[in-house]
């Protein structure tokens, strides 16, 4: 059973010395970034390997900052595929990332209602 949390805000805050103000700013930056990258990933077949990997890596970093652990893990998995066997990247992998993004955005909406 996968117990990776979609959003582990508690751990993220602990890492940031409970700086709520900083955490909120990071959530805003993530939200601004994620839509652009979502659109980019929809056209992954047209992207070169380096650009695709960079997009995944960028979002992975931001996800990690806010404790979006499940998304971070999924992005790391797909980033590794792109790095090691770029020709094997498939719709299934991109959909898995999209699924985690959707779950995360749902959680963030709950937190910041």
């Amino acid at each position: 059973m996968n117990t990776t949390l979609t959003l582990d805000k508690k751990s993220a805050l602990k890492r940031l010395m409970n700086n709520e103000n900083l955490y909120d700013k990071l959530v805003i930056l993530f939200s601004e970034q994620v839509e652009d990258i979502r659109r980019t990933l929809q056209n992954y077949r047209d992207m070169d390997t380096d650009s695709l990997r960079f997009a995944l890596h960028t979002l992975k970093g931001s996800a990690g900052e806010i404790g979006a652990e499940a998304l971070r893990v999924e992005l790391a998995r797909v980033e590794t595929i792109v790095k090691m066997t770029p020709d094997s990247i498939s719709d299934k992998d991109i959909h898995a990332v999209e699924h985690e993004i959707s779950l995360l955005m749902g959680e963030l909406a709950l937190h910041y209602r």
């Binding site: 940031l16 900083l22 700013k25 990071l26 930056l29 993530f30 960079f54 960028t58 900052e65």
Partner: protein, 317 residues
């Protein structure tokens, strides 16, 4: 009166944060803001340009960046004498064995894993800065003349080759001015060595303040003998500096009963190195010394220099 190097503390330090991600830079800058001064660069090239002008005390470097990654940037920093002493700590999402090897091979001194843990980051930064401050202080002590606060002969031997290399690379002239205090033995005989030390200290202090550019270096090379290294300075500039040396010393009005003028004076000599001029820097130093000797011959309290025409010139000749 003996020179004590200014003691810096961690809060006086500057940390350069290099990361293409705004959120990463925000996290690190916020966590460190009460400890050090942070500056930011959003890519490796910007970081290299910054360091070449204003070397920070520590660099926190992301690895994965577009165009130039952190490893390559660190390697370039280590190749430049102006930046090779800056410690680089990588901030990376991957701490695989392969990634760790790359960090060490690139010349990094440590790495911190992303997402960053505040306590770990802060303590690692403090530790590396404390080490850097100790190293800086040690270097300062090694290269500083304790009496006058000038650079010492050890500095000259270590650093002059680098300064010459920069001049060759940039195709700019480099001038050397050598001066010493006239009748200094007689000054010591008249007033004692403690007064002699005070005279040296006052003179060096005044001359350091008269040097208009941070790149100019005042070096004590002998008991009462000093050298000024003047990067990007031609023959006319060297002449101007010699004149300024004499005026500065004259303004001090240090009494010297056994000097013909009744005051402490200096004699100065200068020569210029350029890649299409006098052969090598040793020959230039020798020429400057010959000019100093000429100034002494001409009655002291004056200067001589090698003009653009390659001849010794002196005021009044």
């Amino acid at each position: 009166m003996h020179h004590r190097p200014a003691r810096r503390s961690i809060k006086d330090c500057t940390v350069l944060i290099v990361d293409d991600q705004t959120s990463s830079r925000l996290v690190i800058a916020t966590l460190l803001q009460d400890i050090v001064t942070c500056v930011q660069a959003s890519n490796a090239r910007e970081a290299l340009d910054y360091c070449a002008h204003i070397p920070p005390d520590l660099i926190l470097m992301d690895v994965f960046m577009p165009e130039m990654d952190g490893h390559e940037a660190c390697a370039l920093l280590s190749l430049n004498p102006k930046t090779q002493q800056i410690p680089v700590v990588f901030v990376t999402g991957s701490v695989s064995d392969e990634e760790q090897e790359k960090c060490w091979n690139a010349g990094g001194v440590d790495f911190v894993q992303k997402p960053v843990n505040a306590t770990t980051l802060i303590n690692r930064v403090k530790s590396h800065l404390a080490h850097k401050l100790k190293t800086d202080l040690l270097e300062q002590l090694i290269y500083t003349d304790r009496l006058t606060g000038c650079f010492n002969r050890h500095y000259l031997e270590e650093r002059l080759p680098d300064i010459v290399r920069d001049a060759n690379r940039d195709a700019t002239p480099l001038s050397i001015a050598i001066f010493d205090i006239d009748f200094f033995k007689q000054f010591n005989d008249e007033y004692g060595h403690i007064e002699g030390d005070t005279c040296l200290w006052k003179l060096a202090k005044a001359l350091k303040e008269s040097l208009l550019r941070p790149m100019d270096r005042l070096i004590r090379i002998g008991g009462e003998e000093f050298m000024i290294i003047l990067p990007d300075t031609n023959e006319a500039g060297a002449k101007t500096v010699c004149e300024r040396i004499l005026v500065t010393v004259d303004r001090l009005q240090l009494k010297h009963n056994r000097s013909p003028t009744g005051m402490v004076t200096v004699s100065a000599g200068a020569a210029t190195f350029s890649h299409d001029g006098i052969g090598n820097i040793d020959e230039v130093v020798l020429k400057a010394d010959q000019c100093l000797y000429k100034a002494k011959e001409n009655g002291r309290n004056t200067y001589a220099y090698i003009s653009e025409a390659g001849v010794i010139e002196s005021p009044g000749l």
